[in-house]
């Protein structure tokens, strides 16, 4: 169990540490795209 927790912690740390800028840019783009599509849907009243 302890090993599992350590592995999970390592995996989480690795996930956060790898390409942090890429993740941030992707998150910003995802939010922008989501609001853009929402605006478009509202505008054309789909």
């Amino acid at each position: 169990m302890a090993k599992k927790i350590i592995n999970f912690g390592n995996q989480l740390r690795h996930w956060i540490m790898s390409h942090p800028w890429l993740k941030l840019i992707a998150l910003i783009l995802a939010i922008l795209v989501w609001f853009y599509v929402k605006d478009e849907i509202n505008r054309f009243n789909y």
Binding site: H14, S18, H19, L22, K23, I25, A26, L27, I28, L29, A30, I31, L32, V33, W34, F35, Y36, D39
Partner: protein, 260 residues
């Protein structure tokens, strides 16, 4: 947060998370490829487009909308190799493939370093490619299928000057020699020193498009290099090659970016 709040936010949160995941993997896919610079340009234009829209700069927004409409075809042409490779990766990714056991890997690497050592001494070049996660089937098809156990004798035979297959690359897939005489894309990177020839250019070209580990024996300098993810680690000893290849195989994709 109460239930009403949760019900209101869960849908946008889920949608944004999925979008984030997809966009992140698209960006990650283009990292380390030749399309990276174009991708950066597109991101800047996209952010500018959203800004113009929010600031109600209608003329600039109109211009960018028209530009995007035209550029869809241009993007398809520019990213043609990457799109093809990406779709191939989706279809061919070896999700259930068994990785090589430690002793099998050690034995394979020992055979490879013995071969590279002998090839160095006999002043012959070699280009040996070890498949990692990205399938190399498209490149294997350009060569002659072998499907044999990895042995130093076979590798040396392939790369002797009199062999018909010595000009191309030898591909190792799932711990076996899959093919020899394979052709790889050449890099157009201006950073590569002039002293490196076509063999190194092909190794770098392949490493920019896949996560393969490439071992290059230089005919002129009689040294061995490893190329991985667009990076060249030159003048390596037998021990260096074994430890570095093992390290790369055990690591995740970003090894090339952390080292050197």
């Amino acid at each position: 947060m109460n239930l009403t709040g949760f019900m209101y936010f869960w849908k946008p949160a889920t949608e944004i998370t999925i979008l984030w995941f997809v966009i992140y993997h698209i960006l990650l896919f283009f990292q380390g490829t030749r399309a990276r610079q174009v991708m950066r340009g597109i991101i800047v234009l996209l952010v500018a487009f959203f800004l113009f829209q929010k600031l109600k700069l209608t003329i600039l927004e109109w211009l960018l909308t028209k530009l995007f409409a035209i550029s869809v075809i241009a993007i398809m042409i520019i990213f043609h190799p990457e799109i093809r490779q990406g779709l191939a990766r989706l279809g061919q990714r070896n999700l259930f493939g068994q990785p090589l056991r430690e002793e099998e890997l050690g034995q394979m690497l020992l055979q490879i370093v013995n071969a590279t050592d002998n090839l160095c001494r006999s002043k012959e070049g070699a280009l040996i490619v070890i498949e990692k996660d990205d399938p190399l089937n498209a490149y294997i098809e350009t060569g002659v299928a072998i499907d044999a156990k990895v042995s130093s004798e076979l590798i040396e035979t392939v790369f002797t000057h009199k062999s018909i297959l010595h000009d191309g690359g030898l591909v190792i897939q799932h711990g076996r020699i899959a093919a020899a005489g394979c052709l790889f894309p050449l890099t157009d990177s201006p950073e590569l020193n002039r002293i490196f020839g076509t063999r190194h250019r092909a190794a770098l070209g392949l490493s920019e498009e896949t996560d393969a580990i490439i071992i290059v024996v230089s005919e002129e300098r009689q040294d061995v290099s490893i190329v991985y993810r667009g990076r060249l680690y030159k003048d390596l000893s037998q021990e260096d090659i074994i430890s570095r290849v093992k390290e790369i195989i055990r690591s995740k994709k970003e090894y090339g970016k952390k080292n050197n």
